[in-house]
């Protein structure tokens, strides 16, 4: 009787076990890893030697960007495996989906940290394919080709998963300490009555202008006060508006007074004054 699929799978699982014992659980003890930053989940410095951290997602495209309708998309798995197969996009999505947060290091020397990935783990694909004992690497071919050739782009990196989507709208909620540090910078600019750039935790440096300018004369609040307010509430408002388009609604000078609603007689007087100022 030929081997059943179950037998093949059992053997595969046993091999995986061996693999994990001897080859995957690398001991880093006693080595002096290069690079900088806190340890990543493999016990190595987060930023490897020769890499630079980027906040964005650089797109380095040398050739064609093929348009692959999802109806035509296929994942073909073959070669040295017991159970070659082809999946449609729908079938691929029906496989167990996984999420993972990990760093991405590109060979072109940029690293993007803490990316949230969504997709099917390579392990899931391997379990379906049941690689033969002598299979050591996976080579992946893309839909696009080297410029001017019929050679498809390929990679033989040790893949841990096949990512189908990178969640582009990451939510980094700043800590109170980080906010305080930004507020300090803002205070400096406002005190010096100067324009400048704020250094944000993720490396961004937005321009801040006219922070010393009085914005609401009636309540003696400046542009700096407004920005400080938004910095303070950032940890609370960011999760609420994350990943949502926002309706732009700029307050014109004429409409600014309306923000100060009279809660008292003194408030009403202030509003009248502000209204008068706005007209002038």
């Amino acid at each position: 009787l030929p081997d059943s699929l179950v037998d093949k799978r059992l053997r595969y699982i046993e091999r995986q076990r061996q693999l994990h014992q001897q080859r995957v659980n690398v001991v880093f003890e006693g080595r002096a890893p290069g690079g900088t930053g806190p340890e990543n989940r493999h016990g190595m410095p987060k930023l490897p030697v020769g890499q630079r951290q980027v906040p964005n997602w650089p797109v380095l495209d040398l050739g064609d960007s093929p348009i692959v309708p999802l109806d035509d998309w296929r994942l073909e798995v073959g070669g040295r495996c017991d159970n070659p197969f082809t999946l449609t996009w729908q079938q691929f999505l029906e496989l167990p989906q996984a999420e993972d947060v990990s760093d991405f290091h590109c060979v072109t020397t940029w690293s993007r940290m803490d990316n949230r990935w969504q997709g099917v783990r390579f392990k899931t694909i391997a379990e379906l394919a049941i690689p033969l004992p002598d299979a050591t690497h996976v080579i992946c071919y893309g839909y696009d080709h080297m410029p001017g050739t019929r050679i498809p782009y390929s990679t033989n990196l040790p893949l841990a998963r096949t990512a189908v989507a990178l969640q582009t709208h990451r939510l980094d909620i700043p800590t109170a300490k980080q906010i305080d540090a930004i507020v300090d910078q803002l205070n400096e600019y406002e005190k010096a009555r100067k324009n400048g750039r704020l250094k944000l935790p993720d490396g961004d440096t937005p321009d801040i202008t006219k922070s010393h300018k009085t914005f609401w004369p009636a309540i003696k609040k400046t542009m700096g006060d407004l920005i400080r307010y938004y910095l303070k509430i950032a940890p609370f408002i960011l999760p609420v508006i994350n990943n949502r388009p926002l309706v732009m609604n700029r307050l014109s000078k004429r409409r600014r007074w309306a923000v100060v609603l009279p809660a008292s007689r003194a408030g009403a007087a202030a509003t009248r004054r502000a209204r008068r100022d706005a007209r002038q």
């Binding site: 709208h169 944000l200 993720d202 961004d204 937005p206 321009d207 949502r244 309706v247 609604n249 307050l251």
Partner: protein
């Protein structure tokens, strides 16, 4: 600054919330009402939440707003839906209602309109569904 390009929209680029830089950019532009869409960038055609906006007219008290919020809760209870009240930017309340994935925009809107209309029908003295602020009566919500 996070910007998204949406199809079939008058505005070519749309600011998208979530990053500190975008937040500061909007503050600097004094675009500070931060009205987020009821859909996320992952699926702009469906709404994942809607809100019933309890907006007081001059003369209406906060306790009247709270009354309205309670009526909203009663109506939602009747159809076994949970709402989450939240203070709005100035003086009102928003009752947020999470929606099942893939709910069309219009369906969410219609649901809110049905709830609001029922409340207005039951409590005509305080609640109004008039969308035109100018036509709303003083002392209504």
């Amino acid at each position: 600054v996070r910007v998204a390009t949406l199809d079939n929209d008058d505005v070519p680029n749309q600011l998208t919330g979530g990053s500190l830089k975008t937040l500061l950019y909007m503050a600097q532009l004094v675009s500070i009402s931060m009205d987020p869409w009821f859909s996320t960038m992952d699926d702009l055609d469906s709404a994942d939440q809607v809100a019933i906006d309890l907006d007081p007219q001059p003369g209406a008290t906060f306790s009247q707003i709270l009354d309205c919020a309670e009526w909203v809760e009663q109506e939602l209870d009747r159809v076994k839906v949970q709402g989450f009240p939240k203070t709005s930017g100035s003086e009102g309340l928003h009752v947020y209602i999470p929606l099942p994935p893939g709910t069309p925009d219009d369906a969410g809107m219609l649901f809110c309109q049905i709830i609001a209309t029922m409340i207005a029908a039951r409590h005509p003295k305080v609640a109004t569904v008039e969308r035109m602020v100018r036509r709303r009566k003083a002392g209504t919500v």
